[in-house]
């Protein structure tokens, strides 16, 4: 698995990755089974379609309102966190974010970091960055722990090891952890927990993500099911939370609908086993908790999306993963084929802002525009519309004003532009269209049997002997 840092300017080899994934029967079975199960679980959580629609509309407005006040809310968040004793750091790039985290580690002479699940830390490739500087990071979420052992990246934002089945995990644990081979899932989880347990006590720093950063109270809210998030944020002497700037919400009231939408859409749970609300380090009279709490707020391209009224909707995302669970493309190729931290539909619309359209030029194209993602999105991100917009940005002339995006025009081709201009002329000139239809139908015998990519899986379509225009003219007269 190549890392993002290896391939900053080259386009991601998406089509090649996809072809390899499609040929992997085991992978396809694993994903289809897992996605079917996740879709069922979500459906069972929303038996009332009208209630779901009202809740989605509500969630959408809560997110839209938070984003409409984003700069103000971030300042209030910083002030209230500071009042609670949390140190807030701002990072425009992943390099800056990593340097901040490393700086904190250096100050504490930290050698060992235990991590709760955090996609932003994946965005930063924090494990790699700190590892290269002598600080070991250990993932404590079971799925993350498994992919770390395999030296892979997560294949799903909620379920990082969803591409594996129990047998594959059994072999991994047997090989890497020196335990007896067992496919008993309960036993496998027990093995993982035993391995992780002592690390919580040995770690110098705990790292976590954030699901919602609440401006009014200066609170970091974190949901999880395994208890590792609570351990990571309370046992080590220092806790560093990392998150994107878009995760801020105004107040605790706003969290209620979002939390309900998040867990029900993500894993089909009415609520997660743990809901952690972190409002500062250990106080003088308290026995537990970290002595220091830090929050790193990462931009990494989010401001670019924020600046455009339409693209801003990308930042509504609460990272539930429902869009990928329902995506016919993701279901068939899995998460790794995307070559990005965030796979699936949300990955296709968020990653171009992080990496630029040069690298991600093929991602917006990798959709049949079926709309399943937009239909299930709990905060009503119009994902297909945003994919279309990104396609438009990718094929525009690179120098055209205004400049909305990094890498604008990365897919621009004079040849294709000419083809579409010709298409426009054909479809706006009735005489020409009539001649073309006449020629197309009369010469249908000349249609080649092999028309490249289409005929790899289908026979070539054959034009009819006479067009509908002709038949209708005959039947209805010229109109």
């Amino acid at each position: 698995m190549s890392t993002l840092a290896d391939t900053p300017a080259q386009p991601i080899a998406f089509t090649r990755n996809a072809r390899e994934a499609l040929a992997d029967a085991q992978l396809r079975r694993n994903f289809r089974g897992a996605m079917d199960s996740l879709m069922d679980k979500r459906r069972n959580q929303f038996p009332d379609g009208d209630e779901l629609e009202r809740l989605r509309a509500f969630g959408n407005r809560v997110r839209a309102r938070a984003l409409s006040k984003l700069p103000d809310l971030l300042e209030r968040l910083e002030a209230n966190l500071a009042r609670n004793g949390v140190q807030v750091h701002w990072a425009e790039t992943v390099e800056e974010a990593n340097a901040i985290v490393h700086g904190i580690a250096e100050r504490h002479a930290a050698k060992k970091v235990i991590k709760g699940k955090s996609m932003v830390s994946e965005e930063m490739e924090m494990n790699h960055y700190l590892g290269a500087r002598g600080v070991d990071c250990l993932e404590s979420d079971m799925g993350e722990f498994i992919v770390q052992l395999r030296e892979e990246k997560p294949s799903h934002i909620i379920m990082p090891a969803i591409h594996l089945n129990a047998g594959q995990v059994a072999r991994l644990f047997h090989d890497k952890l020196d335990v007896d081979y067992t496919e008993d899932v309960d036993r496998l989880i027990q093995i993982g927990r035993e391995t992780l347990r002592r690390n919580f006590f040995e770690a110098d720093i705990g790292v976590s993500g954030v699901n919602f950063a609440i401006a009014e109270t200066g609170t970091l809210l974190l949901v999880e099911n395994e208890g590792n998030g609570r351990m990571s944020t309370t046992v080590p002497p220092v806790h560093i939370a990392v998150t994107g700037i878009e995760k801020v919400v105004e107040n605790l009231r706003d969290v209620i609908p979002l939390l309900s939408l998040l867990t029900r859409s993500a894993t089909g749970q009415p609520i997660t086993t743990y809901v952690n609300m972190i409002s500062g380090p250990r106080k003088a009279d308290e026995l537990d908790g970290p002595q220091e709490v830090h929050l790193v707020l990462l931009d990494n391209g989010r401001s670019q999306a924020f600046a455009d009224g339409e693209l801003r909707q990308t930042l509504n995302c609460i990272r539930c993963g429902a869009c990928m669970n329902h995506c016919p493309v993701y279901t068939r190729i899995g998460g790794h084929a995307y070559g990005t931290v965030y796979p699936g539909p949300i990955g296709k619309i968020v990653t171009p802002h992080m990496l630029g359209l040069e690298t991600t030029r093929d991602l917006p194209t990798a959709s049949s525009m079926c709309g399943a993602c937009g239909e299930v999105c709990p905060v009503k991100i119009p994902i297909p519309s945003l994919l279309r917009r990104l396609r438009e940005e990718a094929v525009r002339a690179p120098a055209a004003e205004p400049q909305h995006m990094r890498g604008q025009g990365a897919k621009h081709s004079k040849k294709e532009t000419l083809v579409w201009k010709a298409w426009r002329t054909l479809n706006t000139s009735p005489g020409l269209y009539r001649v073309a239809m006449y020629a197309g139908t009369r010469l249908r015998g000349l249609m080649p049997a092999d028309i490249g990519p289409w005929t790899r899986y289908r026979s070539a379509p054959k034009p009819a002997a006479r067009s509908l225009h002709e038949l209708a003219r005959e039947h209805l007269g010229a109109q």
Binding site: A57, P328, T365, W420, N427, T428, M437, P453
Partner: protein
């Protein structure tokens, strides 16, 4: 809008709007037919069958000969300017008061929902778009909700699977209209197929830009249709049919999908209408 709280001024625009409870006009004497480019070239019979079905209900059909494409191929490929000019040409052709009936849910969705985006910066044109959008109906929807048809099945009983295009489903509720029409037919047993609501993999240019993913999707779709035990396959969208039938043919399978209009014309008689003029 939800009653829970007022939307802020810059609330997220959700496009395209989903079809909520739509109000339908009384049955008209005249309609326009927009044939669509895929039907024009590859399935003209389906277009003619749609015309005959409408005529069977006593409606005069008008087919402006200058019509071409709704603009969707360029629109979804990101060539918005080109799509807009093609859309503009269609707008001018359907300017009268008659309803516009389209035997394709995805093209109907383009007229009904996406032209707003194309002409968002042209207030004058938007008035025409509003009129067109309000008058645009997918064929099955028009027959069911405007003509209020009562169809009777003729011929032998048949086991049938219905595939609905994704944009037709999500933008026009075509799956519900198709099911309701088929449910009128005593001789039709409609069978569900595996992952029925999943995309067939067509997606216009997606099928050639991402051929392997699209191929995997259509192979799963044809397998599901075959596995359903249906003897016939119908769909209200010829883009999907081009894809699905091409895959059946490539696999040497005899099964072919046909347009819902063709099936209805061939296998039903009209028993009059329930709606008042």
């Amino acid at each position: 809008m939800s009653p829970l709280s007022p939307a802020p001024a810059n609330a997220t625009r959700v496009a395209p709007p989903l079809e909520a409870a739509r109000r339908y006009p009384p049955k008209p004497a005249d309609v326009y037919l927009f044939g669509t480019c895929v039907i024009d070239v590859f399935f003209p019979g389906a277009g003619m069958d749609a015309i005959h079905l409408l005529e069977r209900e006593g409606i005069r059909v008008h087919f402006p000969q200058a019509q071409s494409c709704c603009g969707q191929p360029a629109y979804t490929s990101g060539y918005t300017d080109e799509a807009r000019e093609v859309a503009r040409a269609q707008l001018a052709l359907f300017a009268g008061d008659w309803p516009v009936v389209i035997p394709s849910g995805s093209c109907a969705g383009m007229f009904r929902h996406h032209y707003f985006e194309l002409f968002k910066d042209e207030p004058q044109t938007l008035k025409q778009v509003e009129s067109l959008s309000a008058r645009t109906f997918e064929l099955a929807e028009f027959l069911l909700e405007v003509c209020k048809v009562r169809f009777e099945h003729t011929g032998a009983p048949v086991k049938l699977a219905l595939h609905t295009s994704c944009s037709a489903r999500r933008e026009m509720n075509t799956h519900l209209h198709g099911r309701a029409l088929l449910a009128q037919l005593a001789g039709v047993e409609r069978v569900e197929h595996d992952h029925e609501s999943e995309c067939c993999g067509f997606g216009g240019s997606f099928s050639v830009r991402m051929p392997d993913i699209s191929g995997a999707m259509v192979q799963d779709k044809t397998a599901a249709l075959k596995g359903s035990g249906a003897a016939e396959v119908v769909s209200a969208d010829c883009g999907c049919l081009l894809n699905i039938n091409g895959c059946f043919e490539k696999q040497g399978d005899a099964l072919r999908g046909e347009h819902l209009a063709s099936f209805l014309l061939r296998r039903t008689a009209s028993a009059g209408t329930g709606g008042a003029r």
